[in-house]
Amino acid sequence: MRFLLPLAAFIVLVGFLAVGLGLKPREIPSPLVGKPAPVFQSPRLHEPDQILSSKDNLGKVWLLNVWASWCVSCREEHPLLVELSKSGIVPIYGLNYKDKPELALQWLGQYGDPYTVSVVDPEGRIGIDYGVYGVPETYVIDKDGVIRHKQIGPVTIESLEKKILPLIKELQG
């Protein structure tokens, strides 16, 4: 009987390894989901003399999309965001992360601007508050200003249809 123990231990190990193959070790879930979104007050990208406060968004469901002109995979998700903003389902706010305003504006001019407002975060400080560790990232924030979901990496059709849109509908309803 005791000679079967090594085999039993190995079988357990294989079980974990098999499950592990399907996991994404590089995606780290945010502890902020379910917590109030950190408050920020920051200049707008288009009108740098005007300040946007995240408190202004209380009472509506909104998306916060972290983007930058230097970010390659932002280009990947951008058409989807433009389309989403056209549909008018949900307002998208942009957090222009560690970017130069002139490059950011040029980038928006080239690829389209899906953002209701973009605010700038030149030193990445708002990013740290939101636990941003890679760009792009997208947060779904509800009427009470609570973060309900964090999309790590580019938004895809799949993640939009399966997770983000149903969640928005539920939160708006």
């Binding site: 000679f3 079967l4 090594p6 085999l7 190995f10 079988i11 190990l13 294989v14 974990f16 390894l17 098999a18 499950v19 592990g20 193959l21 399907g22 996991l23 070790p25 590089r26 780290i28 879930p29």
Partner: protein, 674 residues
Amino acid sequence: MIPELGNFSLILALLLALTQGTLPIIGAARGNLSWIALARPVVQGQFVFLAIAFGCLAYSFVNNDFSVINVARNSNSELPTHYRFAASWGSHEGSLLLWVLMLAGWSVAVSVFSRHLPDEMVARVLGVMGMVSVGFIMFMLITSNPFDRLLPAAFEGSDLNPLLQDFGMVIHPPMLYMGYVGFSVAFAFAIAALISGQMDAAWARWSRPWTTVAWVFLTIGIMLGSWWAYYELGWGGWWFWDPVENASFLPWMVGTALVHSLAVTEKRGSFKSWTLLLAISAFSLSLLGTFLVRSGVLTSVHAFATDPSRGIFILGFLVIVIGSSLLLFAWRAPKIGLGGKFDLVSRESMLLANNLLLVVAAGSVLLGTLYPLLMDSLDLGKISVGPPYFEAVFVPLMTPAIFLMGLGPLSRWKQASLPELAMRLRWAFGVSMATALLMPLVMGEWKPMVSFGLLLAFWVIATIFVSIRHRLQNSGQGSVFTRLARQSRSYYSMHLAHFGIAIFIIGVTLVNGYETEKDVRMEIGSTVEMGGYTFRFTGASPVTGPNYSAMRGDIEVLHNGEKIRVMQPEKRTYNASGMTMTEPAIDTGFIRDLYVALGEPLEDGAWVVRVYHKPFVDWIWFGCLLMAFGGMLAVSDRRYRLKINTKPIEAATEEKDGGRAPSGNRLATGGKKG
């Protein structure tokens, strides 16, 4: 054409491996002599075809054949020739080919150096190794063919990762793989013993030198990897407890336990089932390491580019190889006899305790390495397990092991007496205690952890002296030198390896305790003082390498007002990838390293420079080398060369379950002569 030839050779090697993995084993079971006789030639044939395949890959790399995907992704025409050759094993695919080539190399060695073994035993051993080879060659051909073509061919290759463009890349992977793969021999002997049902001490004697050689390679491989990380990564660390490092350390720890356990099984016929299990485990952990590095389940600095289909294949392979071995073990092990009798206090029990500590330490490192995966797969959140955990767990587990290391060699087989040991070792303990308390004062500052580390090291050294002195007193007449010369090499090899551990501990302790570093802005002509040395920055100038451009700093080092050398750290930018690399300059010394690395450039030719003074850091790797030399010395012992004299030992060690061995302390303590 050449890559196709390589591919074809690989397929032929697979066919031969299939033959090798089946017919000789069946032949041994049925007593079919011609099938048994097939083993040796098939092994040698497989090796030839794998060598051709490897030669074709190396040829493609050296000649910049960018129509091969593997070459296009991992090489570049500007890359110096020796790195192009080393790039053959720089990628996942190429390193697998190196792996199977080495497996075939070990198999050939077994087929050549096993003339004195029974033919059916050799057939089974080579058959098991053939099955392992089948798995790996199939893995390559199905998921990771190194010869896959790229159509149309790339004009230029995207370059070998600059981190790998170093002499370390030329020697470290082959050494490490020789170690990993070498454990397959011990594994194959263990499986062959289980299949045949002949689980007496004979298999232990046969597989012992093979295990030791594999252990030597693994020791050197890990040591080279650590040294390489030290001088290449640019901030002077030498061990990071990264999953991939742990993957090499796990088989090392279990292999170390195996080397010791084999000694007992061979000499005393005890722990047979435990030794078999260790032999299976050491190689299984090598395979597990392969899985961890190549499947992408863990993030690591050293991991290969990953692909889930590869992970599934290796996992399936693991299940077949390890699962069936453990099943075979569970089936056969209950029939294994117990071996000779020994007391609770005896060399056997101490070796067993040391084995336990090594295996528990290995289990803990494995637990720490896999725990993030474990939690994630149970959806309990993601955590990281890093150096603080491993240090907190590893040191307390190894401390009693080091203590036993001093006790074991002085204890008798079968029955030792604690009071007698205490008598003999009291001055060793006193001396090591006193030295450990005083030494840190010599270094300038007393620190408890330094004192503790040194206590362990000096304990090992002092007990070695006691053991040799005791041995000489019992070695009959003659001068000290004739009596010294009378001791066997395996006796010295043990002490040399243990001495290596002591040296290693001294290095680790002192560098952790007294290392200093400074991060400074150096203008031209400015100086920084450290550890009694003055570093003067005299400027940085551009240099052009074969495939990079660099800024090279000139830093004069002065000691007691005299200039002792100029250190030239570089900041390189590689042409093909655009990656920047910090190339530190190191002044290696017996009692310290001076380590200088360039940071960022500032205005007016000034640079940020990091300067380190690392006392005794080279003792870490020197200690590992001593361990490896100890292993080599053990293998060169005359009892492996003179097979004629093995008869008497056989009578002495081949104890039946009742333990009817001729006893007598003289024989029991010194029974390894032959």
